[in-house]
């Protein structure tokens, strides 16, 4: 077979899809090879540490994604709180495909290599916590109240995603995300 150049961003996207759908231990090198279009040896060339390195890599990309699509957006002081939050929540809905797609962080936060991933996962949640908290404080909440409501927003996202998928009803996710602006004190 011909050795066709495969773009890193396409590989990353496919690896992410597989890990997010099947979890770390439910994913094999063969699955990653078929999804990415690269043979196993080629994957090892790009990721010498194998599966573990691939998962760590897509987690780092996830961290960047949250930084860009949630944190930076919410800190963009040129626009109204409401507009910023709308954009960030739209991005989150897109990421989780309206509640039909699993959360990469959650799928990698309970597996045989979790200790290796934990720091990045924690960092991702901290980025969200900071971002939502910033909005809540901007809407007049105290530091501690904002921290609590921000945590609740993340709990809503994670919990509703678990439930939406288990009950096969994406309205649960949609309703939980839709409730976040009011939770964070955004004026109607």
């Amino acid at each position: 077979m011909a050795a066709v150049k495969v773009f890193p961003e396409d590989v990353d996207r496919k690896l992410n899809e597989v890990f997010t759908r099947y979890g770390y231990d439910g994913t094999s090198m063969e699955m990653l090879s078929q999804a990415s279009g690269l043979k196993k040896a080629s994957l090892y060339h790009r990721f010498p540490g194998g599966k573990k390195d691939m998962a760590a890599h897509i987690l780092k990309k996830t961290e960047t994604w949250f930084q860009e699509h949630v944190n930076s957006v919410l800190h963009d002081e040129g626009r109204s709180m409401s507009d910023r939050l709308t954009e960030a929540l739209d991005a989150i809905r897109f990421l989780f495909e309206d509640g039909t797609r699993n959360c990469t962080l959650r799928m990698l936060s309970a597996c045989s290599e979790t200790p290796y991933f934990q720091e990045t996962i924690r960092s991702c949640f901290n980025i969200l916590q900071d971002a939502f908290s910033f909005i809540a404080k901007g809407n007049g909440m105290s530091e501690s109240e904002a921290a609590g409501k921000s945590m609740q927003a993340i709990i809503n996202i994670q919990g509703s995603l678990v439930l939406s998928r288990a009950m096969d009803n994406q309205e649960i996710f949609k309703a939980s995300v839709a409730a976040i602006p009011e939770l964070l004190g955004v004026p109607k």
Copy 2:
């Protein structure tokens, strides 16, 4: 080695521990054998369908547990709403070891055999939904309002458990569970 009789309830508890900790795909027959004290062939004697059967079995036990420790308790009309809810939430705190133990339902709701487990998992969440909803209605809420608050209670439990473990901070779980009585309209 001597063939020592091992009690089914002890085996069940150990199998549950392993599946809940490592997930379905992260669990091997060897791990289940070591944890239960039964050799692999003995496990196949008790569970002819292998791993899949064992996980399905512990899920059925989980369903019974929720029925007995949450649903039945909350429907026990001989006591106050507040007392019943306190007992059920204490059981939930015990089940999840104050936020340090994973949720069996969640760990089995995203794995290679999920389709095989989904019906029971769904049933477990429905039992919780009915139970919390019954309390909320008893406290004066409408059918639809009670359904919403009940769903929020389950989201709080699942979401806070994910976060508690990811952030290594069990206070997140404790606070979320502690907020449930007020959420369901129990008078202070």
